[in-house]
């Protein structure tokens, strides 16, 4: 039996891994996925990587913090962390989340009910360090001992912990072992939100210490502010892609379509995750086909930040978040559109419609909404001629956490699917109780060292289990099945997850968006829009 990990172990034995993930301990998957894909689920780091980066949490590197070279450097980093922690708890520096944070830090009853709701904790075989309350409890103890200086009474009332570089380095990595899906928070009767504590920890590391995942900060928000998109897509390249989309739409549908770009005074500015343009072009194409067929007055933007809906700041940094949100809004206001409509991207939805809501003033305000009510209105209006028989294959719906649990947009997508997919079926649990795809909070785009192994083996495991279970009565790979995931990041996570386990070959399960299903059902398009091939 492995040794039980205690809270204070986070500061002990800095050269040893706290956890070694093995296949045997992971939650089992149904056949034919019950045998491990690889002997060791997480590939080991090279000696060079181990020497260079902090990896003593679980042998996985998500953010790659370089190891300090001296005791002095360690001490400096510990002090910087404490300074940041003070700021995190001050209303001057953290008005954005101070009240929710304090409520979550002060009033946990430690009943651990939240653990049973966490897909990562469950998938890992209930590993202590992944328990939603573990990192929160470490932080609480640090605050009580080092900031509030409770002395002996603090040990008695709040428990003990030692703050050293190992604690901080592991805590930083640990803040990237939670997808901030906030399923744990739903279960808390006191309103404690361990997902928020993860968010705030990431923020402390980024806003004070400059520590964050490279894909989210340097290649994400920084690149987006500089070049226009987190994918590196420039305005010029974007215009080229739009032209290509028009050609491809004509090829696929036989219809000549002019996609409006930078149309002044349009009703709608549609913003997609730029990942769609790079990996799933059929998605923005389907949007264009639908909106044109429905006679909508809409436009895309080729302005810097206007063709990119992502806002990775929402996962780790309030300042970067605000910069991007205001840029996107500025583009819309310049175009004079009536509203921004967000395409199939969950975190873009939450970022611009919900979180950005309270950084806007009269000068920066513009209405923002999800594409889902717009699409439902089009589908139910009869403007499109739809034949559900064209979608007569098993379809299930993945609920992106950001749209569903965190925004309450639950039914429009279901009403559309019930109308156009005769074999639509629900996963269990679904709706606001769904499981995250495993790619939430930036995981879908993080590819550092062996982190992708961890993502497909642990973070996405419960989702894979759900998908396999919902299609268990049609498991024959000859029966083609469709996981509708109306979110770009979720699609990215599903692509890697299904590909790692060869699910397309073994079970005939494909993933894709919602608008593709709508276009696939349109009777005036001769060829099926959905191409049943892995991509």
């Amino acid at each position: 039996m492995t040794k039980r990990i205690k809270i204070k172990d986070i500061s002990q034995n800095p050269d040893q891994k706290m956890l070694n993930i093995t296949s045997e301990e992971l939650v089992p998957l149904p056949p034919p996925y019950d045998k491990p894909v690889k002997e060791t689920p997480i590939c080991s780091l090279t000696k060079e990587q181990e020497d260079k980066y902090e990896c003593s949490l679980d042998g996985v590197v998500a953010i790659g913090i370089p190891k300090p070279k001296s005791k002095e450097e360690e001490e400096k980093l510990v002090n910087s962390f404490l300074k940041g922690l003070k700021k995190l708890l001050s209303k001057e520096n953290n008005w954005t989340f101070l009240q929710p944070l304090m409520l979550s830090l002060e009033y946990c009853g430690k009943c651990l009910s939240c653990s049973q709701e966490c897909p990562i904790y469950l998938a890992s075989g209930k590993q202590e360090i992944y328990r939603p309350n573990y990192r929160a409890e470490v932080l609480r103890r640090i605050i009580k001992k080092y900031l509030k200086k409770g002395g002996i009474f603090s040990k008695f009332s709040d428990g003990d912990i030692e703050l050293n570089w190992a604690t901080i380095a592991r805590l930083a990595e640990l803040s990237y072992r939670c997808t901030i899906c906030r399923r744990c928070a739903q279960s808390c009767t006191r309103g404690v939100d361990n997902g928020l504590i993860t968010h705030e920890l990431r923020k402390l590391f980024s806003q004070e210490m400059g520590i964050s995942a490279k894909e989210i900060h340097e290649l994400g928000t920084v690149q987006q502010l500089k070049t226009g998109a987190s994918t590196g897509l420039t305005p010029k390249a974007f215009k080229g892609i739009v032209q290509f989309m028009e050609e491809e739409i004509e090829e696929k549908t036989g219809k000549k379509t002019k996609i409006p770009v930078d149309k002044q005074g349009a009703d709608i500015l549609l913003i997609h995750n730029s990942g769609e343009y790079m990996s799933w072009l059929e998605n923005p194409e389907a949007f264009a086909i639908i909106l044109e067929a429905a006679g909508m007055n809409w436009t895309l933007s080729s302005e810097l930040a206007g063709y990119e809906g992502t806002n990775y700041g929402v996962w780790y940094d309030d300042v970067q978040f605000s910069r991007i949100a205001l840029k996107q809004i500025e583009v819309a206001r310049k175009l004079g559109v009536k509203k921004i409509v967000v395409g199939e991207c969950g975190h873009s939805h939450k970022a611009i419609t919900v979180i950005a809501d309270r950084i806007l003033t009269k000068e920066t305000y513009i209405p923002r909404e999800s594409f889902l009510p717009v699409l439902e209105d089009i589908v139910s209006s009869g403007k499109l001629k739809l034949d559900p028989k064209r979608n007569d294959f098993p379809v299930t719906l993945h609920d992106p956490c950001n749209m569903v649990r965190l925004m309450g947009i639950v039914e429009p997508q279901r009403r559309i699917l019930r109308k156009i997919c005769p074999q639509f079926r629900e996963m269990e649990p679904h709706g606001v109780n769904n499981y995250c795809c495993g790619g939430g909070s930036g995981f879908a785009i993080m590819h550092s060292m062996n982190f992708p192994d961890w993502r497909v083996n642990v973070a996405g495991r419960m989702k894979l289990k759900q998908i396999l279970e919902v299609f268990k009565d049609v498991s024959d790979p000859a029966i083609k099945k469709y996981v509708c995931a109306p979110c770009s990041n979720c699609k990215g996570a599903l692509r890697d997850l299904l590909s790692y386990y060869n699910v397309w070959e073994k079970s005939g399960i494909l993933y894709g968006g919602l608008v593709e299903l709508v276009v696939n059902a349109m009777t005036d398009i001769k060829q099926p829009f959905i191409e049943w091939e892995w991509r």
């Binding site: 300074k83 008005w95 004070e208 502010l225 309270r358 309450g408 606001v432």
Partner: protein, 284 residues
């Protein structure tokens, strides 16, 4: 707690289902509606209040998700509610005795006297039994369950034991000394009328322990009874949109004019939030 109440406006961080929303049964929100900002909001504040009251009384989330814990937690909390109610009843009864001369006995000529008598006994005995069962149950659960034990601190055990002593002392006094619980009313009558008269030592001990319990309570996490209201109404269910010209907008303007003190390399430390948010460069 007052500090938490006074904290500034924060960014939205709601979590569905939100009971005041029309589609709360499946977790829906007003964001499901096309151009929601053009429509009047249908919001039932009463449903949220009733939802929370139901949670306070049933602890149904624990029952659903963590049943073995619920078996200790539920009697414990109901024991708390009832013990407070019992002492309020005793005080109220004493007040009536002192001011109206009401006889609080089973065969009272005034029906109110009989009602208060029986109610006091039922409430007190139920609270003593449930509180004792809950304290012992939670003590066992917290000690026997290795996961819970790992997160427990000495204060948790102290609390279970202290609260157990409070409930047991009441139970002991009722069982062996004062089955009618009249001496509690007598104690209050003496206090109200400023007369000194000795009450039973067992009763007196319970009153002292209960008083200590009331003094100690604000120093424990039991204030979650109140902070939970903030956590739900001001965070989890706070989906109030910010519309131009609203009072919220002026609060936002205020916080946006605060300086940012973070030291990260991409931040313009010392500049206002609004200046940071509109800067295009990497903090420079």
């Amino acid at each position: 707690m007052a500090k938490i109440v006074r904290m500034p406006i924060h960014l939205r961080w709601e979590l569905y289902p939100v009971p005041h929303e029309k589609g709360y049964k499946y977790g829906g929100s007003y964001l499901e509606e096309l151009e929601w900002w053009t429509k009047p909001r249908e919001k039932s504040r009463m449903r949220s209040i009733l939802f929370l009251i139901k949670k306070y009384l049933s602890f149904s989330e624990y029952f659903r998700r963590n049943r073995s814990y619920w078996f200790g937690l539920y009697p414990w909390h109901i024991g708390f509610y009832l013990i407070v109610f019992f002492h309020i009843l005793s005080f109220f009864g004493a007040l009536l005795i002192a001011t109206t001369g009401l006889a609080i006995i089973p065969e009272s000529t005034n029906i109110l006297g009989s009602i208060i008598y029986y109610l006091t006994v039922i409430v007190a005995v139920t609270s003593f039994i449930l509180g004792t069962v809950g304290s012992i149950g939670l003590l066992i659960k917290r000690t026997a369950d290795p996961d819970l034990r790992a997160y427990a601190t000495p204060i948790n055990y102290f609390n279970y034991l202290f609260f157990l002593v409070v409930f047991l002392s009441g139970f002991f006094a009722w069982l062996f000394v004062d089955p009618t619980l009249a001496s509690y009313r007598e104690f209050w009558v003496n206090l109200i009328t400023l007369k000194y008269a000795a009450v039973e030592p067992a009763t007196y001990t319970h009153i002292m322990l209960f008083s200590l319990f009331l003094i100690y309570l604000p120093f424990t996490r039991s204030t979650h009874y109140i902070t939970k209201i903030i956590a739900f109404f001001k965070v989890r269910w706070d989906d109030t949109p910010n519309l131009p010209g609203s009072s919220m907008e002026s609060k936002i303007k205020k916080v946006l004019s605060q300086p940012v003190g973070w030291s990260g390399p991409h931040i313009r430390s010392g500049k206002k939030w609004s200046e940071n948010a509109t800067s295009n460069t990497e903090g420079k």
